[in-house]
């Protein structure tokens, strides 16, 4: 790994002025001559570095500021204050040398030409990015094979399924072998099989090209499978930056114990070992403090007629919900 970060964000702020409409018909009439504006702090003083070759997950609720940050990093939005640098370039300057080295993929928007086959967009991007013919063919063949899209690249894009289109979007974005890849919800709307195949592909691309990848996703499986490091954003501010395992350590105070009994066990008896979440008599699910999970499990194995026992970490989704929501905070 190089010591120069591929992405450097320093006290980034991006504020928007938005028009606040009063409700109802009269509010609409009033808005014709008088409008009230408010400032929305989409990104508010965020700093982080990302090393070359890292895959980092951007986690946060809708409107947390993830996409805004990616757009500033792509040179699409001009920051209110702070500085950003990608591969040593100021993205806002939108220099061709920089643009040839990164790619932005947005699951909710597309760059493919709708009425013609995806192959036409690929050829167009070859010209736009000035990719030499040999490199273009090699990369295209490799991507077509990995993503298994040989049969669809010559069919009009409008006739393709969402998953097929997303695969073609990825190819269009990767034909110039970008060193930095911003993936904004690349698996949105895809079925689980397609999500898995895209994840496998992203991992493979990262390994093969040593690409730096920032990934935002609502699907925690994407983040869990691809990223070692996560940056969590809430209402424009960074609330966590570190290894995913640290995130679990930091926010998950409990572990889940799943128990199956050979004889029915009373709920009251279980409550002295931890919080009982589910109980049927012959099975139970409990939350026990993380640090004491093994010890308590051992005690329970001795004290109770346990037929089967399983210790698990709290699912990442639940941790995220815990971090962003005030409810149930004590239960994790």
């Amino acid at each position: 790994m190089s010591s120069i970060p591929a992405v450097k964000v320093d006290h980034l702020k991006k504020h928007f002025k938005v028009y606040k409409k009063k409700p109802g018909f009269m509010g609409s009439i009033e808005s014709l001559w008088h409008r009230e504006y408010e400032t929305v702090k989409a990104v508010d003083d965020i700093s982080f570095d990302i090393e070359q070759g890292e895959i980092v997950g951007f986690i946060g609720q809708n409107g947390a500021g993830k996409t805004t940050t990616l757009k500033v990093l792509s040179g699409l939005l001009y920051q209110t204050s702070g500085s950003v640098s990608v591969l040593g370039y100021n993205p806002w300057k939108r220099q061709a040398a920089f643009q040839k080295q990164f790619s932005l993929v947005m699951g909710q928007k597309n760059q493919l030409w709708w009425d013609v086959p995806a192959m036409e967009t690929f050829l167009l991007n070859q010209t736009i990015y000035e990719v030499p013919e040999k490199q273009f063919r090699n990369t295209l063949d490799a991507l077509i094979e990995i993503l298994d899209v040989k049969d669809i690249i010559n069919i009009q894009v409008r006739k393709l399924s969402l998953g097929q289109r997303m695969k073609c979007e990825l190819i269009a974005s990767l034909l110039h072998n970008p060193k930095v890849l911003f993936l904004d919800e690349p698996t949105i709307g895809l079925d689980v099989v397609m999500q898995k195949s895209l994840r496998d592909f992203i991992r493979q691309y990262n390994k093969e090209f040593g690409a730096t990848i920032i990934l935002t996703s609502h699907y925690m499986d994407d983040v869990k499978e691809l990223c070692e490091r996560a940056i969590m954003i809430d209402r424009g501010a960074k609330v966590f930056d570190g290894q995913l395992s640290d995130l679990i350590d930091k926010y998950a105070r409990n572990k889940i114990l799943s128990l199956a009994f050979s004889k029915p066990v009373q709920k009251k008896l279980l409550e002295k070992y931890g919080i009982v979440k589910n109980w049927t008599g012959s099975t139970a699910t409990m939350l026990v403090p993380r640090k004491e999970a093994t010890k308590r499990a051992a005690t329970m194995l001795t004290d109770l007629p346990i037929h089967d026992l399983n210790i698990e970490e709290i699912p990442l989704e639940a941790i995220i919900r815990e971090v962003f929501g005030e409810e149930n905070r004590l239960h994790l």
Partner: protein
């Protein structure tokens, strides 16, 4: 990126648009038919006026036809090129879809200007050229190669002037949330183009010849073919076209800071 690459890209877009056109043949034939009708009706309306008045602002029947031929060529570009691209441009601003365009290592204005086109205007273009040739024959004027060259340069300058004005107005879309008829403003002004610049006098002449020289766009190239050109006016058209082009470029660079694409 070299000029050759831009040239290559320009024709690639034309190729893709041709493919799109073949996908929707019915649309192409229908709009071509409508466009031809509009052109013929316009020429017919002027022929009625000329039959009665004999001339407009000192331009006789066939001189007027030549001017209308030039106007028809400009109109073909207006609807087939400018309108298509500017509609796409403002739609992308309103919907926050400029994202992909802005990440490409190609001049954004070039992409905004050349990506789209329709082929509906081809028949209009052919009619325009035919009317010019017919008028020259009727006027018994033979034009030198240099004259044709200058005509083309001035026509392109006029198109640049008109397009730059349109681009500046369309760029205002960055400041409004929605403005459906923003792309109707310049086409609304194009009626000015189909009469000789000498039609306008006083304040109007100052406005449409000096400040916003729209009246020169069709008149000046036509004057070159008719052999009644004015060097000062030719230079003013060339200079104002370049200045407006530079202003459009600068305004876009300023406006793009305003762009705040729609979040997902």
């Amino acid at each position: 990126m070299s000029l050759g690459k831009y040239w290559h890209l320009f024709w690639k877009f034309r190729g893709i648009q041709l493919m799109k056109m073949t996908e929707y043949r019915g649309d192409f034939f229908f709009w071509s038919f409508v466009s031809v009708l509009w052109t013929i009706f316009n020429l017919f309306a002027f022929s009625l006026i000329l039959r009665v008045s004999g001339n407009i602002a000192g331009w006789n029947q066939y001189e007027m036809y030549l001017l209308l031929g030039t106007f028809t060529i400009i109109d073909a570009f207006t609807w087939s090129f400018f309108f298509e691209n500017m509609s796409n441009y403002t739609r992308q601003i309103f919907k926050g879809e400029l994202d992909y365009l802005l990440t490409k290592p190609v001049n954004t204005i070039f992409l905004l200007t050349t990506t789209e086109n329709s082929y509906n205007g081809i028949f209009r273009l052919i009619i325009g050229i035919s009317v010019i040739v017919y008028s020259l024959i009727k006027l018994n004027i033979s034009v030198s190669f240099g004259g044709v060259f200058l005509y083309v340069i001035l026509l392109l300058s006029g198109l640049l002037l008109m397009y730059s004005c349109w681009f500046i107005i369309a760029t205002l879309a960055f400041w409004v949330e929605k403005l459906d008829n923003i792309n109707q403003i310049i086409p609304g002004f194009r009626r000015i183009l189909q009469v000789p610049r000498s039609t306008f006098s006083g304040v109007l002449s100052l406005l449409l010849t000096v400040l916003l020289p729209l009246s020169l766009i069709a008149s000046v190239p036509s004057e070159v073919l008719l052999g009644k050109s004015n060097v000062t006016i030719i230079f003013w058209l060339l200079i104002s076209a370049v200045l407006t082009g530079l202003a459009a470029n600068a305004f876009f660079s300023f406006a793009i800071k305003k762009y705040s694409s729609v979040g997902s």
